[in-house]
């Protein structure tokens, strides 16, 4: 499922860069970076899950899956962070005096703290897309709102997965559903006359 979501993320990134080439709007470039990172994270996550499967046959692969999860988490953190920053700039709530926190890079496992950070970012992004839908009332904005909400739900399930493995498939289905909604938005945009 990650590979499907990766392909859709790349399609969104491509649409964004196409738009940037035409309109030279920086927000589209940031959107491109964001979805490129998301796609990269999803690809790594997909490969990491394959590695986890292989780890059943060889213990050494477990270490690689931790690297995979770390890269995926960092990619999502930066990707959603970029979107949050862009939304903040749009609403003029941007404070230029940002303290750059240098976080030591440690290898992470799927744990509640990392998921909470991503949920926090995604809830903000979902909120912004809800406001946008409320203002514009277009199908495209509804699809984007639905997509980010699905990603929030997905990460809630990933959070619950740290407690009980049964939530794993729900997390991935919800994530895939979110990206399918983005694909629907892309189809609709390309039909615009």
């Amino acid at each position: 499922m990650e590979f499907v979501a990766f392909a859709i993320a790349m399609a969104v990134a491509f649409q964004a860069v196409k738009g940037y080439r035409l309109a030279r709007e920086r927000t589209l470039l940031y959107l491109n970076f964001s979805f490129l990172l998301l796609g990269a994270g999803l690809l790594v996550d997909g490969l990491a899950n394959l590695i986890v499967l292989l780890s059943k046959f060889h213990r050494n692969f477990l270490f690689l899956s931790r690297i995979g999860y770390t890269i995926d988490f960092l990619a999502q953190l930066v990707a959603y962070g970029i979107l949050v920053v862009v939304y903040l700039q749009q609403t003029r709530a941007w404070n230029s005096q940002l303290a750059a926190a240098a976080l030591p890079v440690v290898l992470l496992e799927n744990n509640p703290l990392t998921e909470l950070v991503l949920i926090f970012l995604l809830v903000y992004i979902s909120g912004q897309s809800a406001i946008n839908y409320n203002v514009s009332k277009t199908t495209n904005s509804l699809l984007v709102f639905g997509a980010f909400t699905s990603l929030v739900v997905a990460h809630v399930f990933f959070l619950l997965f740290t407690i009980a493995p049964i939530f794993f498939p729900f997390a991935h289905i919800s994530q895939l559903f979110g990206f399918l909604l983005l694909l629907g938005m892309l189809f609709k945009v390309n039909q615009t006359q």
Partner: protein
């Protein structure tokens, strides 16, 4: 360009001036730029009329898609 398209692809300068809410100097400047880019063309001897070229129509269609895409995320172009 949108004003020209709204006028069924035959717009006089005055229409464009009011439709786009431009000053005369800016209008002349932008029309010259658009002509140089090949997205609009001028016709008529006594009374100038502007229309979109095929390139201009394609550009406008693509720009609409970009606007729809950016608008889906709540970004204004």
């Amino acid at each position: 360009m949108r004003v020209i398209q709204r006028e069924e692809n035959q717009a006089k300068p005055t229409r464009i001036l009011y439709g786009a809410n431009l000053s005369h100097d800016r209008l002349v400047k932008y029309l010259d730029e658009l002509k140089a880019l090949g997205v609009i063309q001028e016709s008529g001897n006594d009374e100038k009329v502007y229309s979109l070229t095929q390139k201009g129509i394609e550009f406008l269609n693509n720009f609409r898609k970009v606007e729809a895409f950016a608008g889906a995320f709540g970004f204004k172009i």
